[in-house]
């Protein structure tokens, strides 16, 4: 979790540099041009998500079972493999050595240690869970997330076989099948942990064993498995992939409905528990789930997707999901895990609240500027006038300036939340800290 926070801090700075390259063309072109800075940013955020979520699963699994995990040594080996891989990946990017696949842009050989580390995670998890009978929903969600991440990660490397890569349409179909489901797999890890944390704060395990909790879990799994086709509506692939995805994505309306239905009770609970730092972060993420899901459902309609595909609309959706939902939830876990209960009120101070509001307002402006840029590019894509790409990009400059400024404020806000968490870890007795985690 601590490593994840450091990776997130680096990822934010890389993102900011990338955003600056949009408004200052050629900025750092000789040393860290965009084809280097983008993978540095994207990979850092992905590693923040996977290291942060696996750290949360280990911590909460122990709290849930009341026992230590099966092997602390295996967890440490997993951590060291991840750490060495991340360092090698950063070096490869800076040296301009790429595997060149979107999101996992490092040389494919570095995917091997990541897969091995994840296999250790799976083994350790399975040996740590006493059984699956009468278990709360998050235990199922964690297992699902771990298994599907491993499967989709391996699937994303099928391109190394000529059978899959020799034709661009075949290659992209399988590539986006794996990526689409992979997002669902880490969401399982994160949402599972958030259900655990929510119940821990309320002190009543009322939701995690209900029929509704399991129905929502199966609905999420159904979407993880079959809704990935919305990424490739414009690719000349099998039409059944698109139809299945369209229909399955519409079932997300049920999740949307559930959020609206439970809105009032969420607000009542917020009044009661809002003083907890972790709970405030959970609530902020809830609002972003609503906005991101609304956008996601819209983008899942092929006739709308045609306009938005390839524009910053997609980026807005991705940023809402990775910052507004995943990162805020992971920060909630971090503040719960890294700052032990007696110290909790210390974070619930004015400074924390200002930082959280700053993050949310900046993220909203950031999100809106991306949507506005997306609308403008969509108009350009559909226009019959052949306006050059460079002219269109120049017209988008005001949105990119707002995007950069909002990104800068967002980074400052997030760093103000991250810094006390890291500082607290180092000022507290290390032995107590490690015992608290493992």
């Amino acid at each position: 979790m601590l490593a994840g926070l450091m990776i997130l801090s680096a990822g934010l700075l890389f993102g900011l540099t990338g955003a600056l390259q949009y408004i200052v063309p050629g900025f750092l072109k000789q040393f860290l041009s965009f084809e280097k800075i983008r993978p540095l940013h994207v990979s850092a955020i992905l590693f923040w998500i996977i290291t942060g979520s696996s750290g949360a699963v280990f911590s909460y699994l122990q709290q849930s079972t009341g026992k230590k995990i099966y092997s602390v040594l295996l967890a440490r080996i997993q951590f060291y493999i991840f750490s060495v891989s991340i360092v090698l990946i950063v070096i490869s990017y800076c040296a301009g050595i790429f595997g060149g696949r979107e999101y996992w842009e490092f040389p494919p050989v570095l995917g091997l240690p990541i897969a091995i580390a994840w296999l250790l995670f799976l083994y350790n998890y399975l040996r740590s869970v006493p059984g699956f009978k009468n278990q709360p929903v998050y235990v199922w969600m964690w297992l699902t997330g771990i298994v599907f991440f491993l499967f989709t990660f391996l699937e994303s490397y099928l391109w190394i076989f000529p059978y899959f890569r020799n034709n661009i349409v075949n290659d992209m179909t399988i590539q986006w099948k794996s990526y689409g489901s992979m997002v669902g797999s880490w969401n399982m890890l994160i949402y599972g942990s958030s259900i655990f944390l929510m119940e821990k704060i309320r002190g009543t395990p009322s939701y995690s064993r209900t029929r509704l909790a399991f129905l929502m879990y199966f609905l999420g799994l159904f979407n993880l498995m079959f809704n990935w086709g919305h990424h490739i509506y414009t690719l000349p692939t099998h039409s059944y992939i698109k139809h299945v995805s369209y229909i399955v994505s519409m079932t997300e309306l049920l999740i949307f409905g559930k959020i609206i239905y439970q809105w009032k009770s969420s607000l009542d609970i917020a009044k009661k528990y809002g003083h907890y730092a972790a709970y405030s972060l959970l609530l902020a993420a809830d609002a972003w789930v609503f906005l991101t899901l609304a956008l996601s459902i819209l983008l899942s309609v092929p006739a709308i997707n045609v306009y938005t595909h390839g524009t910053h609309f997609t980026v807005a959706h991705a940023m809402g999901a990775t910052i507004g939902i995943n990162s805020l939830l992971l920060l909630a876990f971090a503040s719960d895990i890294l700052i032990q209960a007696p110290q909790q009120p210390a974070t619930a101070n004015k400074k924390f609240k200002i930082s959280l509001w700053t993050v949310n307002i900046a993220l909203f402006v950031f999100w809106i500027s991306l949507i506005a840029a997306g609308i403008q590019k969509a108009q350009w894509q559909m226009s019959t006038e052949k306006i050059p790409f460079s002219v269109m990009m120049l017209e988008q400059r005001p949105f990119f300036i707002i995007f950069f400024i909002a990104g800068l404020v967002l980074t400052i806000g997030l760093l103000l939340i991250i810094y006390p968490l890291i500082k607290n870890w180092f000022i507290t007795d290390q032995k107590t800290n490690i015992q608290a985690l493992l």
Partner: protein
């Protein structure tokens, strides 16, 4: 109300999970064995061009079928739209934003073959799609 209070039997959970995993396995296996494009000419230069594309991480800035980076233009149909000479010239000189990657002539020719191959696979021009009332599209 029972949704919020009642629990679900482990057997029920097992049945739903098994059904979903089986359906997913069949769906995946079917897709792997019947990929969308079955017959296509294998072009060695284009294959090498794909390697060059990945080696220089072109996807960080450029899109194919709307997927990839946003800093540069989508290159799905750039081959027929701009022609090989124009593309060659840009690859050799770079732009204000795109660095000159100092590609060799062989790398440039391979990349051109790859872009020609992508161009022949279909159109990414959203204006050519037919929108239907049920929300689906036709290419």
């Amino acid at each position: 109300m029972s949704l919020f209070i009642c629990t679900m039997a482990d057997t029920q959970k097992g049945i739903i999970l098994t059904t979903l995993v089986t359906a997913f396995s069949i769906y995946s296996a079917h897709l792997y064995t019947s990929l969308p494009v079955k017959s296509y000419p294998v072009n060695l230069d284009a294959g090498n061009g794909k390697q060059v594309w990945q080696r220089y991480n072109c996807t960080a800035c450029h899109q194919v079928y709307g997927l990839g980076g946003y800093l540069g233009p989508d290159l799905t149909n750039v081959y027929s739209f701009r022609g090989p000479d124009y593309i060659k010239m840009l690859m050799k000189s770079g732009t204000d934003i795109m660095p000159n990657l100092h590609l060799s002539d062989e790398e440039i020719n391979n990349l051109l073959a790859y872009l020609k191959n992508i161009d022949a696979s279909g159109s990414s021009d959203a204006r050519t799609f037919k929108l239907k009332k049920d929300g689906t599209i036709e290419q």
